[in-house]
C-alpha cells in the first residue's frame, strides 16, 4: 500500500488510521508552539498560576456570569429588534434596521470605549459591570436580531393561515407555532453566537472589568510567565466555548432534516 493512502479519507477507515492522523496534527501543533516558545526563551511555570488560583477562579466566574447575563439580555434585545425590523410601523422598522447595521458595521472595541463614556458619564451608569453587560448585549443583540429575522422570514406565511384555520388566536399561534419553529431553526446559529459572546467579553478588559482576560493580564504583570499565562487563558476560554459549539453542531444535525 502506498504510504500516501494512510492520510486519505476512504469509506472504510479503521479507528487506528483516524487516530494516527489526529496524533500527527497534534504533534505538529504542539511542536510548533514548543519551538516558538523555545526561540523566545519562554518558560513554563505553572506554580505561579497555582499561587493565583483564587483570583483566576474569580475571573473565570466573572466571565461566565458576564456571558450568561449577556446571552439573556442580547436574546431579548435581538428578539425585539428582529420583530421591529419587520414591523409595519416605518419609524420602528428603520430604527431597528439602523441599529443592526451600525452595530454590525463598527468594531466592538470602539463601541466599548464610546458607549462606556456615553452610558457611564452622560447617563450616570456608574457600575462597570452593568455597563459591561449592557454594551456587550447591545453588540451581540444586533447579530442575534439578524439570526432571528432570517428565521422568522423562513417560517412560511401559510403556517399562520393554518394556525388561524384550526382556531388559534394570534397569541396562541405565536406561542404554539411560530416560537417553537423559530427556535428549532435558529438554535444552531444562536449557539454559535453564544460562543462569540464568551470570547467577545474578553474585550471588556479594556474598561478595567476584572474578568478572565483582565485577571490574566494582572497576574502576568506579577509573574512575567507570559507563555504559560496566555496558553492557560486560551485553554479556559476553549473550555467554555467548545461545549457550546458541540451543542450547536448536535442541534444542527438534529433539526436540519426536520424543516
Amino acid at each position: 500500500m502506498p504510504i500516501g493512502r494512510l492520510f486519505l479519507r476512504t469509506p472504510k477507515d479503521g479507528r487506528a488510521k483516524l487516530l494516527l492522523n489526529g496524533l500527527l496534527v497534534a504533534a505538529v501543533l504542539v511542536g510548533f508552539v514548543a519551538l516558538s516558545v523555545a526561540r523566545v526563551e519562554g518558560r513554563y511555570d505553572f506554580t505561579d498560576l497555582w499561587t493565583y488560583r483564587t483570583r483566576l477562579a474569580m475571573g473565570f466566574g466573572m466571565t461566565l456570569a458576564f456571558s450568561v447575563l449577556s446571552m439573556a439580555a442580547s436574546l431579548l434585545i435581538g428578539f425585539a429588534s428582529a420583530t421591529g425590523s419587520r414591523s409595519r410601523i416605518l419609524p420602528v422598522r428603520y430604527l431597528c434596521r439602523t441599529y443592526v447595521n451600525v452595530i454590525r458595521g463598527t468594531p466592538l472595541l470602539m463601541q466599548i470605549y464610546l458607549f462606556f463614556y456615553i452610558i457611564g458619564d452622560a447617563w450616570g451608569v456608574e457600575d462597570r459591570l452593568v455597563a459591561g453587560v449592557l454594551i456587550l448585549s447591545i453588540f451581540e443583540g444586533a447579530y442575534i436580531s439578524e439570526i432571528l429575522r432570517g428565521g422568522l422570514d423562513s417560517i412560511e406565511g401559510s403556517q399562520l393561515e393554518i394556525a388561524r384555520a384550526v382556531g388559534f388566536t394570534p397569541a396562541q399561534a405565536t406561542r404554539l407555532i411560530v416560537l417553537p419553529q423559530l427556535l428549532r431553526r435558529t438554535l444552531p446559529a444562536l449557539a454559535g453566537q453564544f460562543a462569540s459572546i464568551i470570547k467577545d467579553s474578553s474585550l471588556l478588559s479594556v474598561i478595567s472589568i476584572v474578568e478572565l482576560t483582565q485577571t490574566i493580564k494582572e497576574v502576568n504583570a506579577a509573574t512575567f510567565a507570559f507563555t504559560t499565562d496566555y496558553l492557560f487563558l486560551g485553554v479556559l476560554y476553549f473550555a467554555l466555548t467548545f461545549p457550546v459549539s458541540l451543542l450547536s453542531r448536535a442541534l444542527e444535525k438534529r433539526f436540519a432534516y426536520e424543516n
Binding site: E156, S158, Q159, E161, I162, A163, R164, A165, V166, G167, F168, T169, Q172, L176, I177, P180, Q181, R184, Y257, E258, N259
Partner: protein, 245 residues
C-alpha cells in the same frame, strides 16, 4: 345544512377575484366546487372558512349570518374544519400532536382526552403507526389524511377541503379520496374544491361551477355533469374529461 352567499365580492388590489357571487345550497351531503385555475375557488373557500373577510356581501350558514369581525371569526372557525392542498400540517409537531393541540387550546379538551381522540382517529384511518412521526417522515398521502383527521377531530359542522389530492400521485389520491368518501357516508357535510371530476360527479350530490369569479352553474352534480348549460362549463368539462391534442 344550508349555505347561502349573497353578492360576495373579493378584490385583491385592482383585481376582482369574486364578483357578486351568489350561492344557495341546502340539504346537501357534499358540494363539489369546480372551475378553471384562477377562478377564485380557493378564495371562496377561505371566505366560507372565515379566513378571509369579503369586501362586500354576506354569508349565511344555516340561516345565521357570519360576522366577519376578527373576534367573531374565532368562534366561526371553531365550527369549520379546513383541509389545505399541501403542507397543511405543523412541521414541528408529530401527527398526534397536530391533531391534539387544537383540541386542547381551542376546544377545551384535557391533554389526555385530546390524545385519546387523536389516537382513535389515527387508528380508524389505519394511521396508528404514524402517530409519533413528524410530517417530513410521512408520505404526501399520509400527510393529507392526517390533515383531514385534524380537521374533523373537533366534529365540525362543515368541512372545507381545498384540492386535497392535487399534489398527490394517483395511487395516493385514491387513498385520500376513499377517506373523504367514508366521512361523507358518516354524514360529514363538506364543500370540496377538486379537479377529480369522477369524484365530484359520483361522490358529491351538488356542484358549483366557478369561472372568472362568478358562479355560472349550480345544482345537482348529476345535472351539471350530464347537461352543462353554459358554453364555459361545456368547454371546461371537455378539457378535463378528455385530453384533446
Amino acid at each position: 345544512m344550508r349555505i347561502e352567499c349573497r353578492d360576495l365580492n373579493v378584490r385583491f388590489g385592482a383585481q376582482t377575484v369574486l364578483d357578486a357571487v351568489g350561492i344557495d345550497a341546502s340539504d346537501f351531503r357534499a358540494v363539489a366546487l369546480i372551475g378553471p385555475s384562477g377562478a377564485g375557488k380557493s378564495t371562496l373557500l377561505r371566505v366560507l372558512g372565515g379566513l378571509l373577510a369579503p369586501d362586500a356581501g354576506e354569508v349565511r350558514i344555516d340561516g345565521q349570518r357570519v360576522d366577519f369581525s376578527e373576534r367573531a371569526l374565532l368562534a366561526h372557525r371553531r365550527g369549520v374544519g379546513f383541509v389545505f392542498q399541501t403542507r397543511g400540517l405543523f412541521p414541528h409537531l408529530t401527527a398526534e400532536q397536530n391533531i391534539a393541540l387544537p383540541l386542547v387550546h381551542v376546544h377545551g379538551q384535557s391533554p389526555e382526552q385530546a390524545r385519546e381522540t387523536a389516537h382513535a382517529l389515527l387508528a380508524r384511518f389505519s394511521l396508528d403507526q404514524d402517530a409519533h412521526k413528524r410530517p417530513y417522515e410521512l408520505s404526501g398521502g399520509q400527510n393529507q389524511r392526517i390533515g383531514i383527521a385534524r380537521a374533523i377531530a373537533p366534529r365540525p359542522r362543515l368541512l372545507l377541503l381545498d384540492e386535497p389530492t392535487s399534489a398527490l400521485d394517483p395511487e395516493l389520491t385514491a387513498e385520500v379520496l376513499d377517506m373523504i368518501h367514508e366521512l361523507q357516508a358518516d354524514g360529514q357535510r363538506m364543500v370540496i374544491v377538486t379537479h377529480e371530476m369522477g369524484f365530484a360527479r359520483r361522490a358529491c350530490d351538488q356542484a358549483l361551477f366557478l369561472a372568472d369569479g362568478r358562479i355560472l352553474e349550480a345544482g345537482a352534480s348529476a345535472d351539471l355533469f350530464s347537461r352543462p348549460r353554459t358554453p364555459q362549463l361545456q368547454g371546461f368539462l371537455r378539457k378535463v374529461l378528455e385530453w384533446v391534442p
